[in-house]
Amino acid sequence: MTLTTETPTPKPAEARPNAARGALRGSLQQLLAFASLIVIVIFFSIASPHFFTTANIISIFTAATVTGTLALGTTFVIITGGIDLSIGTGMILCGVMAGVFLTYWGWPLWAGVLGAVLFGALIGVVNGFNVAVLKIPPFIATLGMMLIAAGLALVISGTKPIYFKETPDFQSIMNLSIIPGVRFPLGVAVFIVLIVLSALLLSKTIVGRYTFSIGSNEAATALSGVNVVKWKIIIYTISGLFVGIAGVLSASRLSSAQPTGGMGLELEAIAAVVIGGTSLQGGKGSIVGTVIGALIMAVLTNGLRIISVPQEWQSVAVGLVILIAVYLDMLRRRSA
């Protein structure tokens, strides 16, 4: 009883008097994330002459490509209020599958790459089914998938790396230099295209609309006649597609499909999403934020290495950045 005056919609009137100010505050948040990225870049530029060089900036982007690709896809899932822990080991499994298709089965390059990407989508479909149809909580559903993918990668590869002997061009996908003179790798160009595509997908299409809608109020979305089950499967599948692409890029970068590793990468990707201002409660987030988050992490790792901070400390720094970023975001929300 007695709760008639309460509405489930997060509150209200006094909080945000008009949309203009709300929107302003939203872009301010992105501005802040962007500003902190600039500050970090300026700091390292002053600290070391080797930081702000074309070669190093490209290598930062290169470093951000794989995690960033994972982060783009998982941004969708996180905005629905879900989580995908299987993206790290799923990526490794997709790399191994690329090796199986190209090296073991002798598929042509395009078919092997497409196969690996679609295999990622398949992982996403299964995750989506488990979450949307079987109603397994996303954390558990994708934790299970994380372990399954890690194990399968080892089983399928016989715990040994697979080299792309039959398709030497495979390594070009990530590494081919596409601008004469500068070493600007194709993989980074792919990453940039993916950024644009996912930004359009999230802000301009029905997928994006329902992603926000489900994260904002799933029950109300369903009552409005939206097939929430179907769209959740689609959203997890999108995340899976990005996992497949990341798997190809990562294997290409190393010129081999490594069956181990990947565990922990999902957390780096989630960290990038969270630093970018996407709420783990769902309903709020942006691709631009995720890209800035991924860059902040890559710049930190790169910069700290350049100024010779031992690797052990780099992880400490990234952890602190996550805590500070999320705490600031909460402060902002509370005062908003």
């Binding site: 009883m1 007695t2 309460e6 509405t7 009137a13 909080a15 299409t205 109020n217 109300a220």
Partner: protein, 504 residues
């Protein structure tokens, strides 16, 4: 005259243990606003949920303009032209107004991409038609409750609804907003449409409705013309039942000492200047409609909610209570209405639940828990309160509702509380077990405990309370001696809304 716009014939719906609706009739004429009233639990919401397709009826037929309907789900009801606005809004706070209204029906430009522009244009057209001054691109989460309500209504109307059902739409609105809402309702009501309006606010029904249908205990009582029926008659239709007098609490004997005095209690959200005294050995009933603030009083007293002002005096000493732990230390126990969530640990056994609040008394010098002493205490209470359980090791989730409630009572008795606040003590408890709980409450009061009992069931209030405190909109509108209290005058005090200034 032609067939009614909407007709319900012989609708029944049961839930485990409860017959929520029994052979209910309702007819809505085209072009009218039909008010639906009834006490808490009379079956209004269940009926609305049948109409909107949330529940399926056990029995009953529905007709829309004379044609029989089979309502299979919320979406289908909406497509048939029946739209409902629930008490809790169904909006996505992070989306804009336009995005909310056309969710699931987004216009697209060139196939793939959404067209925000045509979305906003369609929304503005809708608002122009309804005379609403809202910006379609505003984010819903930033709107006032009243504006969110307008968005809900606009959404409902955008489906070309013929029947609009509103469940307590004015609960959170101020007077000016209510006027805007009524304008909107009048504009919506045309010769081909109709509105079912659920509310407790008698003066509003008088302003907006043409007829009033009354439900009581899940049954249809009658339908009256608003203009020719005095409010008192509507109230007496709502209450109906008579209480056998010997069942009622016998009168107070001698004046007793005051245990708890509350003075000027106010909270930011609801309570306004609530003052009352609770005496030793008495049961003070709290009556009122949903949302009147009864639970909030209890929560403010035990410090679960922050109070803005007010003083609490316990045994003559002023006390400050910041949280329920401090309240428990002072001997004030609060038994929540939400027993399963906030009252017991369902997955733990009877023993652990009984000593939960007083566990620190069962810790030995070395920090180990004294299991034997706990077992002894638990057995004492199982016997004293006649808790039906095979042993104290039984998990609480395996007990019946009534026995779970007794476990909660045992918990607070073990803590040696002398003020007990029962919030809906018999909710979800079957009829036979209710009598046992009633007997237990009487026994506790006779033993010198001071008891506040919040209940939505007027017969329960009248049967148990020595005195009855009535609340409305966060204010205490009356404290009645049991001898003076009737269902009618309690209902009257419970509907004294401030809009009419009847209560100061």
């Amino acid at each position: 005259m032609s067939a009614p716009l909407l007709e319900v014939v012989g609708a029944s719906k049961s839930f485990p243990g409860v017959k929520a609706l029994d052979d209910v009739h309702l007819d809505l004429r085209a072009g009218e606003v039909l008010a639906l009233v009834g006490e808490n639990g009379a079956g209004k919401s269940t009926l609305m949920k049948l109409l909107s397709g949330v529940y399926t009826p056990d029995e009953g037929e529905f007709f829309l303009s004379g044609e029989q309907l089979a309502i299979t789900g919320p979406k289908q009801a909406q497509e048939l032209g029946i739209s409902i606005i629930h008490q809790e809004f169904n909006l996505m706070p992070d989306l804009t107004i336009a995005q909310n209204i056309f969710i699931g029906r987004e216009p697209r430009s060139g196939g793939v991409f959404l067209s925000e522009r045509s979305l906003n244009r369609k929304t503005r057209e809708l608002f122009d038609r309804l005379g609403l001054a809202l910006d379609p691109s505003e984010v819903v989460g930033g709107l006032t409750v009243a504006k969110q309500q307008m968005v809900e209504i606009a959404k409902a109307l955008s489906y070309n609804a013929r029947v609009l059902i509103m469940d307590e739409p004015t609960a959170a609105l101020n007077d000016a907003e209510v006027d805007t809402l009524f304008d909107l309702i009048r504009r919506f009501t045309t010769p081909t449409t109709g509105v079912i309006y659920i509310s407790h606010r008698m003066h509003e029904l008088r302003q907006i409705s043409d007829r009033i249908t009354v439900l009581r205990d899940g049954r249809y009582v009658g339908t009256v013309e608003t203009a020719t029926t005095p409010t008192s008659e509507v109230i007496s239709l709502m209450v109906g039942r008579e209480i056998v007098s010997e069942q009622r609490q016998s009168d107070e004997s001698a004046p007793r000492e005051t245990v708890l005095a509350v003075e000027g209690l106010s909270t930011k959200s609801l309570l306004k200047d609530v003052s009352f005294e609770l005496r030793k050995g008495e049961i003070l009933g709290f009556a009122g409609l949903m949302g009147a603030g009864r639970t909030e009083v209890a929560r403010a007293i035990v410090g679960a909610d922050r109070s803005e002002s007010g003083t609490i005096t316990l045994h003559g000493r002023p006390v400050v209570i910041n949280n329920p732990a401090e309240a428990a230390k002072l001997g004030i126990g609060y038994l929540s209405e939400d027993r399963k969530q906030l009252g017991v640990l369902l997955e733990r056994n009877v023993r652990e639940n009984v000593v939960l609040a007083s566990l620190s008394e069962y810790i030995g010098a070395l920090g180990f828990v004294k299991d034997k002493k706990i077992e002894r205490t638990a057995r004492e209470y199982v016997t004293a309160l006649r808790i039906k359980t095979p042993s104290t090791s039984q998990l609480v989730k395996n007990l019946s509702g009534g026995n779970q409630q007794k476990v909660v009572i045992a918990k607070w008795l073990a803590k040696d509380c002398d003020v007990l606040i029962f919030d809906e003590p018999t909710r979800g408890i079957d009829v036979g077990a209710k009598d046992e709980i009633y007997a237990l409450l009487n026994q506790l009061a006779a033993g010198g405990k001071a008891i506040i009992m919040i209940s939505s069931e007027l017969p329960e209030v009248l049967r148990l309370s020595h005195r009855v405190a009535v609340m409305c909109e966060g204010r205490l509108t009356a404290v009645l001696e049991n001898a003076d209290a009737t269902q009618e005058n309690i209902m009257d005090y419970a509907t004294r809304f401030s809009a009419y200034g009847t209560v100061k």
